[in-house]
Symmetry: none
Subunit: 201 residues, 4 copies
DNA sequence: GAATAAACGAGACGGTACGTCTCGTCTTATG
DNA sequence: CATAAGACGAGACGTACCGTCTCGTTTATTC
């Protein structure tokens, strides 16, 4: 099977084509609104009003405002998580976690937290976030882990997923459930503790 | 001054006193509804209908349905987090994390996740949860840590809060942002990894 | 006949007697409120608050706020309609209608109109008003009529009730359904027209 | 310029046009409800439920249920008051008043009374009723009067408005403030008395 | 260049939950 | 025992947002 039809590109569909301008205006308006009033307070009517796009058009291309929000959020941020690859797993983890903390701390951090929050009641949002946000991040973590194991820097008797959870979990815990700081020093301290362990000797 | 402050007890307030029955019925109805239809789909009208309490009475004592939900949730669960205190910090952490994972896995787990989710848009809910749920849990973690340090089982160069984050953070990360399992084996593996660290030797 | 049984006075009923102060305070508060905010906007709670009387006490002695309003209204106004009896039916009617118009025009006029309005949906209010307000007024009209007939000033082939309607009806018509003036000149014009008739010669 | 101003007709307004079906269903439902349960007991929710129209739509086009009621009432009745014009003012008045009495007596009579009643607390309802109900009726009365004067049947020293009040006032007085009958004989008696006057000779 | 087709903006629509308000009843402690 | 204070159940109110629909218009491909 050599990759079949591919429905869109040469399709040259009849009728008026989808307006790219509308799409981008909707996403921009949603992105702004999320930051200004928050995810919950943002209304579809306001997105429509700000973007100059009809409400029906929004509902034609997105199932609800949360889908718009997720797409707007992903488009607005640099979705590709950078993989440091400095030659040291500890240094890589440090840089990766610092990046995450910085992101959480920034203007998109609260929006992200609200999206994760909304996802607890909307399985489709949850799936979308997991696929486009969490997975890429974890993938970087896994790559760091694998390289460290290959270099003999890391234990081999620990499940890779557990290891990634240990490094990335505390940051989200702090973001969503505490008001503890999310700064670079904290990132470094978490990575240091995770690497060397809590037990004495 | 013999008479201690204590403004209320002998107050013998004038007028009809608040109905304890109404309060408990509201909380019970809310608790049931959260489990049955979820936090978002639960409506104030339905709480009123099920509890036989007037809607105005609900709004008199709680500002909105989320405040009811938080109180109902706290009342419904054994809010006092048990402190194992087995004489070993690792064993204590293991038991504590197993307890948390079991709670997350159970019927209240999803409700809790939805509450944390809602808290991202409602600062007052967030404060309530932090004060009545997160803090007691962390307090147990801190006690375990302090005892372990006193016994010489744990490192002394690690910030206590970081240590608690390392043990409890991954569980919440899994609950809210992944669909990874939340079983006892995972709890044990997380504690083991946290104690011994990720770095080789 | 020296004033008969009258069940209460010597009864020396057991328990705390009804507070006359409460009764009058309720009526005073209701009377004020009706004039200030209107009959519909007046609430039982506000009557209670202003009068310093418990709401339950109000409902103990009156079935609802409209009953309070009727009683307050009757108490506040000089309920006894004066019978002029000048020796001339036309002059009597003129004076009576002038009095009615003046009353309609005054601060109690709008309250009265609102009571009549409310009575359209509350048969008990209607009955109360008819008995204590309309009937005494009509009685004066009937007396004027009878004296005029006896004096030979008035036709004998007209039903007395019709005659009274003809003199008093236009005023209420103006009060309730038009914004035509309610002054003494109008009163005189109505009586003059009613007396002499509309037909030429 | 041949094409006269006429701003609306070819307007071809943008957006979905107002649903005529919704409007008429609301009015029909309100009309039914007023007759069935009365004006006060009729609720906006019930109008919405019966008409299959959203509550928000009702509030979009009418400020409250009374505005709906007035419009429904006017639409349901033959708003154009017929002008008899028989060639005799007395006969014209008789027919007109008979018609009014019949209307008051009928199923719409009580609704009308309740509307007038409500108007005592709602100036906008009052204005609406005056403009669309009272004025047309009075206009007929004025026309009858003018024709009678032209034909020399009626006095010329009586104010036209006073004359109309004299004929139409008693009927409303009876409807709203007494329980006296509203039949054709009464109508005839009133007109007869008004025409010939109350005074002897 | 006319016909066809789809997407578009505007905005009205049915539905539903919200939080507020008033009614008339009740449950206390007080006089 | 009547009272004042005030909490209560019931239920209507008017608002807000959701997601759908119905217009007339615009922008493309197809004949």
């Amino acid at each position: 099977m050599t990759k079949t039809v591919d429905p869109d590109p040469p399709a040259a569909r009849v009728g008026r084509p989808r307006s790219e301008r509308s799409r981008s205006e909707v996403l921009r308006a949603a992105s702004d609104l999320m930051r200004e009033v928050g995810l919950r307070a943002m209304t579809t009517d306001e997105i429509a009003a700000r973007s100059g796009v009809g409400k029906a058009t929004i509902y034609k291309w997105w199932p609800n405002k949360y889908a718009v929000a997720v797409e707007a959020f992903l488009a607005a941020m640099d979705t590709a998580a950078a993989d440091p690859d400095t030659g040291s797993a500890e240094r890589d983890f440090r840089l990766a976690l610092r990046g995450i903390m910085q992101f959480y701390r920034g203007p998109n951090g609260r929006v992200f937290a609200q999206l994760i929050g909304e996802a607890q009641s909307h399985p489709d949002i949850a799936a979308e976030l997991r696929h486009h946000l969490m997975q890429p991040r974890r993938e970087v973590g896994r790559a760091i882990w694998d390289r460290g194991v290959a270099r003999g820097e890391l234990r081999t008797d620990i499940d890779r997923e557990i290891a990634v959870d240990l490094v990335f979990g505390p940051a989200m815990y702090r973001l969503l459930a505490t008001d503890a700081p999310l700064d670079a020093e904290t990132a470094d301290a978490i990575v240091a503790a995770a690497m060397r362990g809590l037990a004495a000797v």
